[in-house]
């Protein structure tokens, strides 16, 4: 599999982005413990704030058509500084991959099958991801619209089924939060589910048409954000205050559904939604980690890297954080700051430098 062999089209990119963001839905719940019933406001604000950044990523991809992040770094920052930045990015991608794998294990051990050891879930999940990544970008891009459709179906379906339990007065009073907490929660939403779409700088070079990349990137981003918003609104309006002590409010909310005596206990559909969205997310992260390492090392194909990188990622997923508390603490206090340069500083700066230096230069038909 050559690094850039598979081609995806614009709508596939859109669904990939949305699916990628939905994959995070379970992991940002700790934000509720800061923002309480104003978390929908935080999501909305973060959405508005993130739009220019997302546009910046797609502008970068459009400017350097067919070049991935590693090559862009080389072009803009020169081969030495560019390589250092690229390595930092690869570490970041890799960390995201491991943490998401760990998140999947946590979810299953916590809610679905508590007695089974976590490694079982992580290893099997990673195996299926490795198989998918082995086929390149195309298969995951091709099933992404199915996962998004399923997620939207589940979200709207559960909302309708829970209609009798919905109490919109749970959102009152609006904006009770101290401004400091509000900024913190906006930052969490912006950094963890939203601007993580930065990783698509490694995917966008595989587009077959760069004409409308801005539009589709933004559409996907908006779709993902809308789904997250609806999930948050649903959870808060149904659960009320108890959603703030729940570790996974989405799951808890759906457990309430009881229509008649029979149509009940359908939380598995949510578990399935979480799993398949996370599947897309982890596959994308896996792919970009492999692709960027292969690009950095100038390999023709990343196939040889699949097993070693996957293995290391699994092991890091095992040993990262000794408890869910430390995971949430670090996500809240360190991770969001750690991601600032990757998401909010380097891409805009790259774009600025590219504009000032009129990069990329063309040599014949090749971009250099």
């Amino acid at each position: 599999m050559n690094i850039k062999e598979g081609k995806i089209n614009n709508s596939q990119l859109m669904f990939l982005v949305a699916s990628f963001m939905l994959g995070t839905s379970t992991f940002i719940h700790f934000m509720d413990t800061i923002a309480f019933h104003d978390s929908w406001l935080a999501i909305l604000t973060a959405f508005v704030i993130c739009i220019p950044f997302v546009l910046c990523y797609s502008a970068l991809a459009k400017r350097f058509q067919g070049k991935d992040l590693i090559q862009i770094n080389d072009i803009i920052y020169g081969s030495f500084l560019g390589k250092i930045i690229s390595i930092l990015y690869i570490v970041y991608f890799f960390l995201l991959l491991s943490l998401n794998l760990k998140g999947l294990g946590d979810f299953y051990v916590g809610y679905v099958m508590p007695e089974t050891p976590k490694p079982v879930f992580i290893i099997i999940f990673a195996l299926v991801c490795a198989y998918t990544v082995g086929h390149g970008l195309e298969p995951m891009a091709r099933i992404s619209h199915l996962t998004v459709t399923y997620a939207i179906f589940v979200i709207t379906g559960t909302f309708l089924l829970l209609y009798s339990e919905v109490d919109f007065t749970n959102f009152l009073p609006i904006f009770e939060l101290p401004i400091k907490d509000f900024i913190q929660s906006v930052h969490i939403v912006a950094a963890i589910p939203f601007c993580e779409v930065m990783v698509f700088l490694m995917v966008m070079p595989s587009l077959n048409n760069f004409g409308e990349v801005n539009k589709y990137m933004l559409l996907g981003f908006a779709l993902g954000a809308l789904c997250l918003l609806v999930i948050s609104v649903r959870d808060t309006s149904v659960l009320g205050t108890s959603s703030f002590i729940s570790n996974n409010a989405a799951y808890q909310t759906v457990r309430i559904i009881e229509i008649g005596e029979f149509f009940t206990r359908i939380e598995i559909v949510v578990a399935m939604g979480i799993t398949i969205c996370l599947f897309i997310k982890i596959c994308v992260l896996y792919y970009i980690t492999l692709a960027s390492i292969a690009q950095l090392l100038k390999l023709k194909s990343y196939k040889t890297l699949i097993i070693p990188i996957g293995g290391i990622a699994i092991i890091i997923a095992f040993i990262a954080y000794d408890s869910i508390v430390s995971h949430n603490y670090s996500a809240k206090n360190y991770h969001v700051f750690y991601t600032i340069p990757y998401q909010f500083i380097i891409p805009p700066v790259s774009l600025l430098i590219a504009k000032l230096r009129r990069l990329p230069k063309r040599k014949g038909r090749e971009l250099i």
């Binding site: 099958m113 079982v120 007065t169 009320g240 205050t241 002590i245 009940t264």
Partner: protein
């Protein structure tokens, strides 16, 4: 080709190893699974420990149609054990039961009187954490011990826990009590001002039969039970919380009584802050119909309807007032007035919430009731000889 064979062989070997290593963690066969349908919590006789009763079904006894296999034994088994904490006690039960208790189908948590008076939060903590607990699990408070409730053999179903569930779900027919789920109770406990309520259940024992009865609701202050509402007081509470579905309203009218059925009820609570005074305006819109009258007079006239409406208003108001008086007497905001103020006045809330215990007993509640009478049922006149005038 050879390479492929080697790979296939490797896959085969790893699958076989996988078989050996896995497949047992969460697996439970249905026929050996002790399914718990009801849990009761009491103080142990020693008073130091907690006593837990788990009601486990016996599927083999459930087989066949209801009631036909009366010759067989009970379809349930109440297992009692004590421990320092709930979880401890539940795990102690493995000494007597044939496996790890499966509580995901637990339908009801019965809290004994002593526990309720002591404070329930620490006993419910385990249930909130356990992934098996469903948010729809019902909570009832026993007027005595929970063991007594779970031991009462029901007449219409074969499992006590199931009958309690049915019973508390049936409360909406008369609206003299309401079902409180685990989810509701958690939200109550998390509120700064709202006091929890839960249906109160007693076991009425005769010589031979014993039946269960839900009589009113238990009132909590924080997480401690401090009193109880009788039936009409409970309905007074439900008028304000908007949980009235239907019910009978017997009103005196012209020395006789008229029975009205509540068809529809809505409520609106508007808090008002004027200077230092806090008013709560409760507006209730009710719709009823005449279902029974004792007088021989024809009440289907405009004047009578107007009069009846007034009497109906009074009846509703008196129910609400009785509940309000009880609540203010016990200083428990069971109506959630505090939260209503919170939602409207977020600036003032900080100060109000810290003084809520002082404010609530003297809070002024304006009750405005607009009721209407919809119909007179199948007949308009009572079945008495009619005079043609």
């Amino acid at each position: 080709m050879k390479k492929r064979m080697i790979i296939l062989f490797k896959i085969l070997i790893s699958t076989v190893i996988l078989f050996n290593l896995t497949g047992c963690w969460n697996a439970n066969e249905l026929n050996t699974l002790p399914i718990v349908v009801g849990i009761g919590i009491d103080k142990a006789p020693s008073d130091e420990e907690v006593q837990v009763v788990a009601q486990i079904i016996k599927p083999q006894e459930l087989q066949g149609s209801l009631g036909s296999s009366d010759g067989g034994g009970e379809a349930y088994w109440n297992l009692t054990s004590t421990g320092e904490t709930i979880f401890d006690a539940i795990r102690e039960m493995t000494h007597e039961s044939s496996g790890r208790l499966y509580t995901a189908h637990n339908q009801i948590i019965v809290i004994g009187n002593k526990i309720a008076s002591e404070g329930v939060q620490k006993y419910l903590d385990f249930f909130m954490r356990a992934h098996e607990t469903r948010p729809n699990t019902l909570i009832v408070i026993s007027s005595n011990t929970s063991t007594e409730i779970l031991d009462t053999k029901p007449e219409l179903t074969r499992i006590p826990a199931e009958s309690i569930t049915r019973l508390s779900e049936a409360q909406e027919i008369q609206s003299h009590s309401k079902k409180v789920t685990f989810q509701d109770f958690t939200n109550y406990l998390m509120s700064k001002t709202t006091s929890p309520v839960a249906p109160l259940i007693t076991s009425l024992k005769d010589k031979e039969t014993s039946t269960l009865k839900i009589e009113g609701m238990a009132i909590f202050k924080g997480d401690q039970m401090v009193g109880q509402l009788d039936e009409s007081e409970s309905r007074g509470l439900l008028w304000v919380t908007g949980d009235i579905k239907t019910g009978a309203l017997v009103v005196p009218y012209k020395n006789e009584v008229v029975t009205l059925e509540i068809i529809n009820a809505k409520r609106k609570i508007t808090p008002k802050i004027q200077g230092d005074n806090i008013y709560i305006h409760v507006e209730i819109k009710e719709e009823g119909k005449i279902v029974e009258q004792t007088s021989k007079e024809n009440l289907a006239t405009l004047q009578d309807f107007e009069e009846l409406k007034k009497v109906q208003n009074e009846a509703i108001k008196s129910e609400i007032l009785s509940a309000l008086n009880k609540a203010q007497e016990l200083n428990t905001d069971i109506f959630g007035f505090g939260e209503e103020i919170h939602k409207k006045y977020k600036e003032e809330w900080k100060e109000i919430s810290s003084n809520w215990d002082k404010i609530f007993p003297s809070i002024e509640v304006e009750i405005e009731i607009q009721s209407s009478i919809d119909s007179t049922g199948k007949i308009s006149h009572p079945a008495v000889p009619q005079s043609l005038e």
